[in-house]
């Protein structure tokens, strides 16, 4: 039985995290840290879970929870979003701050990057200000060692007054010590968290207010910290505190009076509201600087020179763009070429098994129509999804994850930001688009890394113009059948790659176009400012990435195939076999849709396939095949040439192929994506718009292409 947050006494603010404890003795550990310090890796290593990790800031956009047992105690690890600060300028920072303040975790592990400790110290200090159960975990010690950066843990621990543990999460080194520190946290004698000393006027102002706050809050929150925030009038925090306490402390007469006094004192000393914020920030930065000056030493100032050299190639004026495009082409080429062989083998095996299955059903004397329904309906669609769709995914996904692991994706955002700015959007949209290649739903969750709500909406609405993993195989199959087959064999993959790249580039162009259009119409505004971190390059964990993503991906696709493709196969089979007025339901529907679909250069069957493919794009092609086969022309489909014959027999021309590809690139988002958009935007209106825009655009373009081709008599 899962206990709810309420019953275990953990009171959380609505909309933030709910923690499920198994027993009341379970301890809750929060993992905080700057973006891109390997927090997710630490989390995975401790919990054995597979939170997707990547080398770019903002990877953890949702908070994950996992369990970990150490010396017979259960720990619930909560991976909170990575932030630079807890001053709550963005949604993630608010979530992180609220969990640290009000989630009442038994310990907070602040994960730091050993190669960039000083920048990380800002968050450490801010966390220590709020809580005294802090453990500092210096991750990436292996990278630091390579760069000859040395960290004096004794000095760090002494200066911070909290336990400090050095680890290399990727190799698992130091995790035991980390958990040991968590276990011993409450017995440690040396814990005496550093008190950040502000300049005297601020300290005096805090002293004026703190007694009144302490009286009101007791030990619920750090009264010193709350006092500072009250003087600084941090509205976002005050509204969270109000929700937590159930009353507005700024409305308390005694406190309001003291706040007024404290602010008056600051004004006397020449500090007004604007400068107060600066002074607080400076004090933190200077304290961090001092601590790191004591603890960090490096052999040479040039420890990052290798990264700079790589950057000079990957983001230079001359080679930045060409390398980006070549990499894209290279990945597609590998995917297309690599997928051919396993695809053929799997198809052979699965379709051989179909005969076995038929025999088996026959031997059991099962009625023909059931055999037909199960084998021709359910099994065939499953077999298609697995043999045609799975191999490209299993190749593309790990390749892409490798790029992510190395740290290339933020460079793409760096290279392309100017163009996004011209579209009045945010450069980080490049990152969310990259995520969209994997899965649009993931891309949309990723949009949280964009601070401005307007730009976030643009990124959300346009994410679907990037074809996801489920749509790639459709595109690849059609390209191979209709466009590459006329070329001599060794060049086929190459031509396919070029065409696929063209389709992707079209998707990207559409993204820019629609983004620009949105910025001048329903989402008017100017691009807001942003900072983009370019993390150090890291050696990818090739083996781990390949094994994990193939494994995860395979399971995911198989699971989806079972859940979605099988019922869809069943529906199609029923539609093809239930006859009304002598004609099958399928024919009724496709005939009904046919005139409209023909305008778009498609046919009724294709349109039905896209509609039935709403739960998962992977099943569009299998449904088309099923539908054609069910309407008569049964062919034994073992490779793409035979499939091509089937399609051509059903009236496909090059125009049908082009329009199907265009429609695949631009149509409604799949159901998972729609649900995610609804969840992220909390608005039916924006979900509907995200649904309508790609659909309308796709239909318009298909219509234009089809009409143009027909007018000029090209078909």
């Amino acid at each position: 039985m899962g206990l709810t947050a309420k019953s275990t006494g953990i009171k959380l603010i609505e909309g933030s995290l709910d923690i499920e404890k198994e027993t009341p003795n379970d301890k809750v550990i929060a993992l905080a840290g700057n973006p891109n310090v390997g927090k997710s890796t630490v989390f995975n290593a401790l919990t054995g879970m597979n939170q997707h990790t990547g080398n770019w800031p903002g990877k953890t956009v949702t908070s994950a929870q996992g369990k970990c047992t150490f010396n017979k105690t259960n720990y619930i690890m909560v991976d909170i979003p990575g932030t630079y600060s807890l001053m709550a300028h963005s949604a993630e920072e608010e979530v992180a701050r609220d969990f640290i303040c009000f989630g009442n975790p038994d310990a907070i592990i602040v994960v730091c990057d050993a190669t960039c400790l000083e920048r990380n110290m800002n968050l450490v200090l801010q966390t220590i200000e709020i809580s005294d159960h802090v453990i500092v975990c210096v991750n990436l010690m292996d990278e630091a060692k390579k760069k000859h950066i040395y960290i004096d843990f004794g000095s760090l621990q002494k200066d911070l007054g909290v336990p400090v543990v050095g680890i290399s999460a990727r190799s698992g080194k130091g995790l035991g010590e980390l958990m040991q520190a968590v276990e011993e946290l409450n017995n440690e004698t040396f814990i005496n968290p550093i008190k950040i000393k502000y300049i005297s006027p601020i300290e005096e102002a805090i002293a004026i207010l703190e007694p009144a706050v302490k009286e009101k809050l007791g030990d619920k929150l750090s009264s010193r910290w709350v006092s500072l925030k009250l003087i600084d009038s941090d509205d976002s925090l005050m509204s969270s505190i109000k929700k937590y306490l159930g009353f507005d402390i700024t409305k308390d007469e005694a406190i309001a009076k003291k706040i007024f006094e404290a602010r008056a004192h600051l004004k006397e000393c020449g500090i007004n509201e604007d400068t107060l914020n600066d002074k607080i920030a400076s004090c933190l930065v200077i304290t961090a600087e001092g601590i790191c000056a004591d603890a960090v030493s490096f052999e040479s100032e040039k420890y990052n020179s290798r990264d700079r050299k790589i950057d000079r190639i990957l983001t230079s004026k001359w080679s930045g763009y060409p390398i980006m495009i070549l990499l894209l082409i290279f990945i597609f080429y590998l995917t297309i070429t690599g997928a051919n062989y396993p695809s053929e083998i799997i198809a052979n095996v699965l379709f051989k098994f179909q005969d076995v299955l038929l025999e088996f059903f026959k031997s059991l004397h099962i009625p023909n129509w059931i055999t037909d329904m199960v084998v021709m309906g359910v099994y065939r669609v499953l077999a298609w999804v697995v043999s045609v769709m799975l191999p490209p995914m299993a190749i593309f996904f790990p390749l892409f994850t490798l790029l992510e692991d190395v740290g290339y994706l933020p460079r793409i955002a760096f290279n392309l930001d100017r163009h996004f700015k011209k579209a009045n959007a945010c450069g980080k949209q490049a990152l969310t688009m990259c995520m969209g290649f994997g899965c649009n739903a993931a891309g949309i969750v990723g949009c949280r890394i964009i601070d401005s709500p307007r730009e976030r909406l643009i990124a959300t609405i346009t994410n679907n113009f990037v074809p996801c993993n489920g749509r790639f195989p459709t595109l690849i199959a059609i390209i191979t059948m209709f466009f590459a087959s006329s070329v001599a064999l060794p060049f086929q993959s190459f031509i396919s790659t070029l065409i696929l790249t063209g389709v992707i580039v079209l998707g990207i162009i559409m993204t820019f176009l629609i983004s620009t259009l949105l910025s001048v119409t329903i989402l008017k505004g100017v691009p807001s400012s942003f900072t983009l971190e370019l993390p150090p390059y890291r050696k990818p964990q090739i083996g781990k990435v390949i094994v994990r993503s193939i494994f995860d991906r395979t399971l995911f696709v198989l699971g989806r195939a079972a859940v979605v493709a099988a019922p869809a196969g069943l529906i199609i089979w029923i539609m093809a076999n239930v006859k009304v007025g002598g004609i099958s339901l399928l024919l009724h529907c496709s005939q009904f849709l046919d005139p409209f679909a023909k305008l778009l250069g498609l046919d009724g069957v294709i349109l039905i396939a896209f509609i039935l493919g709403f739960p998962a794009n992977e099943i569009v092609v299998p449904i088309i095949i099923m539908a054609y086969m069910a309407t008569g022309s049964i062919v034994d489909l073992q490779d793409l040439t035979q499939l091509r014959t089937l399609l051509v027999n059903n009236g496909w021309t090059w125009l049908t192929a082009v329009c199907t590809m265009l429609f695949s690139l631009m149509h409604w988002p799949c159901s998972t994506t729609c649900l995610t958009i609804k969840k992220e935007t909390q608005s039916l209106k924006w979900t509907a718009i995200s649904f309508a825009i790609p659909t309308v655009v796709g239909m318009l373009i298909c219509f234009l292409v089809a009409s143009t081709a027909r007018i000029f008599g090209l078909v």
């Binding site: 600087e289 990052n304 983001t315 100017r418």
Partner: protein
């Protein structure tokens, strides 16, 4: 000689010291979060292919800023 200029004018490979932040609101706080305060040494690393944004080395981290933001950071040579 202690000329002041904006961070966006810093040339690739050059280093200078922050004199003042002219940005306001959330960008000002964001810059402070990444350690950009008066007295911070900043090195200009490299421009992106289209010339903007520009990558800077700030307290050991590489951060890219758009020119309209970096022009609000007042620098001096030392």
């Amino acid at each position: 000689m202690n000329e002041i200029f904006s961070l966006s004018n810093l040339k690739e490979g050059e280093t200078a010291t922050v004199k003042k932040l002219r940005s306001t609101g959330s960008m000002r706080r964001r810059l402070q979060d990444i350690g950009l305060i008066e007295g911070t040494r900043v090195e200009c690393l490299q421009k992106s292919p289209s010339g903007d944004p520009i990558a800077f080395l700030i307290r050991g981290a590489v951060i890219a800023l758009r020119s309209e933001d970096s022009c609000n950071v007042v620098m001096s040579e030392n």
